[in-house]
């Protein structure tokens, strides 16, 4: 695929439009307690069971920063190749809502904890760099539940005060596919770092999507609309697709685009106006006087830097260099930290005489297919890395054929059985004794003399027939290479 062809453009009769996208990703910090209180953060707890006096904004209650969340934000900043700000300031974002007990959200406005950085995307047409504008820490709000009672709204404050990282990208994304790759990459980096579990179903990762369009080739940005709080990659892509086309249609009709906040209706697959720029809240940001500016030392940052694990980009490079994987294979294996871990364990268990290609094929082929079918994460794999390594080795050293291996693999699924034992118990070991195979072939040729003559006269297609018969006679266990070699000799 050439670079040109992959460009995402919206075509109208005479014009082509480019889509410009920037994301504000809200990633829940992986931490046991909230950003400014000691309440638990576990997902799915009974409503209002993880709420402290601070979270519910009782009179005289004061926020105290959770240092662990600060570490998590800095680690994420390091993972995004970003500038870590030694001084940052918490501000109050003031607005009234029933699930915002303080009447303000503590966030970072002018001085965020992390500044500019970048993320590399692996796109089919090559690598693409996406700029990070900033990352800041802020509190999540509670949850308003409107559908439990016809008269009343219920409020669950379990989320109130949970730490979020808002990661703001530059307007560098140009297509729904890039957005997908960007979110996946962010999620991958944070999962490697252990700073966010990236679980979109549980709301740990969601995004506000800023979309604008412009005539292809134009340097000016168009007027953007912000689509609020989209919580799946699929919905982000659908929302962008819809929104970009809506904006192009307006331009084509000679109308202008209003800068506004929109909502994506997942049922109707369309975006709807939520509020215009004129109705935008005046949040009256000001530094939170209950909190001192957050200051971190070089030592603090360096300590975190020194303990950053190998991240996907580096791991990919190492897989290519060390294991001679193709970039494509490496990309697949590093994209998720658990897959990478699994692969590396297989590699370790295979020992000295290992077949890397074979291992990769088995993981990305048979194993992925099973996981997909059973809807399992690799961390829940029914086959352990150790046993998969043994299986690959059994193929590599000729104990079983690839075909038999598939049978063995099926049997392994039930209780992570040792493939070695399966082979022994079921007698699936490959027959590699040339004399035995020779005897077997002699018998087949004897039984099918006419066909043997036909073959010798030039009907070469019949070779397959003999291979098949030999395999069948051996119960599939005969070494296929030996069958080939011996058959060729005998039928000469």
């Amino acid at each position: 695929m050439s670079k040109k062809n992959s460009e995402y453009l919206i075509n109208r009769e005479d014009n082509q439009y480019e889509v410009v996208i920037g994301l504000e990703v809200h990633a829940q910090v992986l931490s046991k307690s909230k950003l400014f209180s000691t309440s638990a953060t576990k997902f799915g707890a009974e409503p209002n069971t993880q709420v402290s006096l601070v979270d519910a904004a009782f009179p005289g209650m004061l926020p105290v920063i959770n240092e662990f969340c600060v570490q998590q934000a800095i680690k994420t900043g390091i993972g995004l190749n970003a500038k870590i700000n030694k001084r940052s300031v918490f501000d109050r974002k003031n607005y009234f809502y029933a699930d915002l007990p303080q009447g303000y959200q503590i966030s970072q406005f002018k001085e965020p904890i992390v500044g500019e950085g970048k993320v590399i995307l692996d796109m089919p047409e090559g690598q693409k760099e996406v700029g990070i504008e900033r990352l800041h820490l802020e509190q999540d709000a509670g949850k308003s539940i409107h559908d439990l009672d016809p008269q009343n709204t219920f409020v669950d404050l379990n989320r109130s005060g949970v730490a979020l990282m808002e990661i703001v990208s530059k307007p560098d994304l140009r297509s729904p596919d890039e957005v997908s790759a960007y979110i996946k990459k962010l999620r991958s980096i944070m999962r490697y770092l252990g700073t966010c579990d990236g679980n979109m179903q549980e709301g740990s990762l969601r995004a506000d999507v800023n979309v604008s369009v412009r005539a292809k080739g134009s340097k000016e940005f168009g007027t953007r609309c912000e689509i609020k709080n989209v919580n799946s990659i699929k919905f982000m892509q659908m929302a962008i697709e819809y929104e970009a086309n809506r904006q192009v249609d307006l331009i084509e009709e000679g109308k202008s685009i209003d800068q506004e906040t929109r909502l994506f209706d997942t049922k109707k697959n369309e975006t709807r106006s939520m509020r215009s720029k004129e109705d935008a809240h005046d949040y009256r940001y000001f530094p939170d006087p209950d909190l001192l500016p957050l200051e971190v030392s070089d030592e603090f940052i360096n300590e975190l830097k020194n303990n950053i694990p190998e991240l996907p980009d580096d791991k990919k490079k190492r897989f290519i260099d060390e294991f001679k994987l193709s970039p494509y294979e490496a990309t697949i294996l590093v994209s998720d930290i658990d897959t990478a871990k699994y692969f590396e364990e297989v590699v370790a268990k295979m020992g000295k005489n290992k077949d890397m290609k074979l291992a990769v094929n088995w993981i990305t082929g048979e194993l992925f297919a099973v996981l997909n079918n059973k809807n399992l994460e690799i961390s829940q794999s029914p086959v352990s890395a150790k046993n998969l390594a043994i299986l690959v080795n059994l193929i590599k050293n000729g104990t079983i054929s690839g075909k038999i291996a598939k049978t063995v693999f099926e049997l392994m699924l039930d209780g992570d059985k040792d493939p070695q034992k399966i082979v022994e118990e079921k007698g699936l070991k490959q027959q590699s004794d040339p004399k035995a195979i020779e005897a077997l072939i002699d018998k087949i040729i004897n039984d099918n003399r006419e066909k043997a003559i036909e073959y010798k006269q030039g009907k070469e297609k019949l070779f397959g027939f003999f291979v098949g018969q030999a395999m069948k006679a051996s119960g599939g266990k005969a070494n296929p290479q030996l069958i080939n070699d011996i058959l060729k000799k005998k039928l000469q």
Partner: protein
């Protein structure tokens, strides 16, 4: 002993430690006097039954090693007290009973003191006369229909009227020192970060400080020693080495350099205030200290700066009183309607005024001109003090530009009310400690106070100066018990 309530805290502590008095006797005496003093309206919530029980319990197994053994004490109703209603003087918290205790009051109870009740104050501590309280005016024991000052008006009235041996107030712009000055008592606003703000209903977070209010400097020092602790629950609490203020208290201030800031000689200041100040200068000289004329050039900007910063923070701090979680809720058609009705009915006029000022100065388009500029001026005001403290150890000023005024006299003129805080506000803006001590009377016989401002964390020094001056001044409060029939 019949005159228990006339004793100072220090005397009461000694008498209990010497077993000359029991906690039950002392507690009963203050409860009896409080019962007879309802006309002062000093209390919002009385907790007398529980206090008597606690006193009895204390006497059964008295721990006399504590600093406040069995001492009864009423506190300003801005401190959250576990299981005891805490209103902040507002209708919006009329029925609010905390399940937790403020750090400052916790410290007090841990030293053996017993809660008598919660004292009246201006609503959310916004006021200088205690007239903004939802629970009504407080009478100044000095004279009928005289304001006790504010916002810690109930506290000042209760100490001056001997309804409690000592108390605590909070001071955001003068709320301890001004009422102390109006009632002839001693009030200390500690350095910002000295006393934890945890569990104190917030007015303006960057200015609020709790502090002791007492009949004399020594009592004040003792209570400061108890309430000032580092608290990890308050991110602005500062971990510095705290003195044993009462033990280290000395009247030896020989050679101390006391600054006299010329900018505190404001236009229209009554002559008797000027005279009082001059007397104060003479007193410190008599104590062997030296006075030095200094300049605090940005003083005149302090009041406008304060009336931007404090309302800005208040507008945000008070957003939590929305009728959703606790406190007063008015019925509404929908969420917004409920908010509007709750806050219109729940907050009084002065609180609403300050919320509106605060909301305005933080609004986009006005933020830079008001809030941001005020923060810059605040820095300049602090720099003024830093410069002055290169030359002097402390600063002496009047506490207030006038003596106490009549109830209703200034209620319709907020600006003239705000001017009450002109000498106290700069101290809060700079985060410094300041103490007001009674230093004389005006022509009407009303008390007047002098303020000693110290370096940050130098409470011991200003307590010492106040202690030395107190001895020279030998102030006697003229209280006739007019309210007791």
């Amino acid at each position: 002993m019949s005159d228990i309530t006339k004793q100072s805290l220090t005397e009461l502590v000694e008498n209990i430690k010497d077993k000359k008095l029991s906690s039950t006797e002392v507690t009963k005496a203050f409860i009896d006097r409080s019962e007879k003093s309802k006309e002062l309206n000093a209390y919002i919530t009385e907790d007398f039954t529980s206090a008597s029980d606690k006193a009895k319990k204390f006497d059964q197994k008295p721990n006399l090693d504590l600093k406040l053994p069995g001492i009864p004490m009423a506190v300003k109703d801005l401190f959250c007290t576990k299981d005891v209603k805490t209103t902040a003087g507002s209708k919006i918290l009329n029925d609010f009973v905390p399940t937790y205790e403020s750090t400052v009051t916790e410290n007090i109870w841990n030293e053996g003191a017993i809660l008598l009740g919660k004292l009246n104050c201006d609503e959310f501590a916004m006021g200088s006369s205690n007239e903004t309280s939802f629970f009504g005016n407080v009478q100044n024991p000095i004279d009928k229909n005289l304001v006790p000052g504010g916002s810690s008006g109930g506290s000042a009235s209760a100490v001056a009227g001997q309804l409690t041996p000592i108390t605590i107030g909070t001071d955001t712009g003068g709320s301890i020192r001004q009422p102390a000055s109006f009632t002839g008592t001693v009030g200390l606003k500690p350095t910002y970060g000295s006393c934890s703000r945890y569990g104190i209903v917030a007015f303006a977070s960057s200015l609020d400080q709790a502090g002791p209010m007492a009949q004399n400097v020594k009592d004040c020092a003792l209570l400061q020693e108890v309430i000032s602790t580092y608290d990890s629950k308050d991110s602005t609490s500062i971990d510095f080495k705290r003195n044993h203020y009462s033990k280290e208290l000395t009247n030896n201030i020989k050679g101390k350099k006391i600054g006299i800031p010329k900018e505190y000689r404001v236009d229209g200041m009554p002559k008797e205030i000027e005279d009082l100040w001059q007397k104060g200068i003479q007193y410190v000289k008599d104590c062997g200290a030296e006075t030095i004329d200094i300049s605090l050039p940005h003083t005149s900007y302090a009041l406008p700066t304060y009336y931007i910063v404090a309302p800005a923070e208040a507008s945000s701090n008070l957003a939590r009183y929305d009728g959703v979680k606790y406190g007063f809720r008015a019925k509404g058609e929908n969420l917004i309607d409920m908010y509007e009705k709750t806050r219109s009915e729940g907050f009084g006029a002065e609180v609403q005024r300050r919320i509106m000022i605060g909301t305005y100065v933080l609004s986009s388009g006005y933020y830079d001109a008001y809030y941001l500029k005020a923060q810059k001026v605040r820095k300049l005001i602090k720099n003024d003090f830093d410069e002055a403290y290169k030359k002097v150890d402390a600063i002496l000023t009047p506490s207030t530009p006038s003596s106490a005024f009549k109830i209703g006299e200034k209620t319709n003129d907020p600006v003239s009310m705000y001017l009450n805080d002109i000498f106290t506000v700069p101290v809060n803006l700079a985060g410094l400690p300041g103490i007001s001590i009674p230093a004389g009377h005006d022509s009407k016989g009303y008390p007047l106070g002098l303020q000693i401002i110290g370096k940050a964390f130098d409470e011991q020094n200003i307590l010492n100066i106040a202690y030395a001056m107190e001895e020279k001044i030998d102030f006697k409060n003229k209280i006739t018990d007019w309210w007791i029939k």
